[in-house]
Amino acid sequence: MAMMPKRVKFRKEMRRARDRKATKGNFVAYGDYGLQALEGCWLTARQIEAGRIAAQHFLKRQGKVFIRVFPDKPISKKPLETRMGKGKADTDYWAARVKPGTVLYEIAGVPEDVSKRTLKRIAMKMPVRCRFIHRRVSA
């Protein structure tokens, strides 16, 4: 089952700007390696779930995968053959706002080569270009 919030303040939301760069959630925080988005998008709950399943199949119960994004943005869609107007449509699906630089998944407990191959498989399920990253050098 795809992820979605338990409770929300408002049923529908405005689209809002999508062209900013990530200033938070843009480094590996929990695992050893991560998958970073190089472009912005609305990552749907289905796409996040597809990535998780791809990782689970490949890892075969080894290691741990952290999902760093949560689909908390309701995306509405008007039904087919409906005339314009009559208010905003109902929520069709939930998405996570992804900005360039956002870390999407992290992985821990497996060697680097296995992590790289796992995250590459996840990247194939993503609608944006991604890259493999390590933990940062701290000052």
Binding site: N26, Y30, P100, R136, A139
Partner: protein
């Protein structure tokens, strides 16, 4: 004591985003030097030389600036938005006998005995600890032995053996490393996720209903 590394620096006359971008293209790294109430100096380093030192985890430098030498501590590093490149460095003037608060990276040593169990996994939420020590006593990294750690056990910051003269500034109860056993999960099985099927509860609407009932 950690070794003091020599780093040659030049003063930069013009500052700002455009100027910094131009310097980076020329293979320089913009940096700033401050502290000891001596005013701020805008400097530039040779990027290749500086990054080699930073990536090795070195923190205390002897900055050669305009014929004189100053001991400086690497205080902060700024990355670009993708975290790919280091774009700026902050240095603070220090004396070797001065006490400073710094983040020291942790290197785990030894094979934890708990990791031999099936499905065991090591989680390390922190990759560094904050300590107070004299610059002279500083180390580039701290080795932590995990060989005694068993399944479902965790190591806290307070359990780390610190060198003499060091004081722990991080939260003493912070988990540094833990050995967990992963829950059995069939392939392709759906994990329990936040939220449930259908519509989520709307908080704002609930309030409206309450107001209506009062009226």
């Amino acid at each position: 004591m950690s070794q003091t590394h020599e780093l040659s620096a030049e003063k930069r006359e013009s500052v700002g985003t455009r100027e910094s971008q131009r310097l980076r293209k020329e293979g320089k790294l913009p940096a700033v030097l401050y502290g000891h109430k001596l005013g701020t100096e805008h400097i530039m380093l040779d990027a290749k030389e500086a990054l080699t030192h930073f990536e090795a985890g070195e923190k205390v430098f002897e900055l050669k600036l305009g014929g004189k030498s100053e001991t400086a501590l690497l205080k902060d590093l700024a990355y670009d938005y993708l975290g790919r490149r280091i774009i700026h460095a902050d240095f603070e003037r220090v004396d070797l006998d001065e006490k400073v608060t710094v983040h020291i990276p942790i290197h785990f040593r030894g094979d934890a005995k708990g990791l031999k169990a099936a499905g065991a996994l090591m989680i390390h939420p922190a990759s560094d600890i904050q300590v107070e020590c004299r610059v002279r006593d500083m180390q580039d990294s701290l080795d932590v032995d995990l060989s005694h750690l068993d399944v479902n056990e965790s190591m806290h910051a307070s359990e780390i053996t610190l060198p003499s003269g060091w004081t722990l500034m991080s939260d003493a109860d912070a988990v540094i490393a833990a050995i967990q056993v992963k829950k059995e999960e069939a392939e392709g099985e759906e994990v329990e996720v936040e939220g449930g099927a259908g519509e989520p509860e709307v908080i704002a609407e609930k309030k409206d209903d309450e107001d209506e009932s009062k009226e």
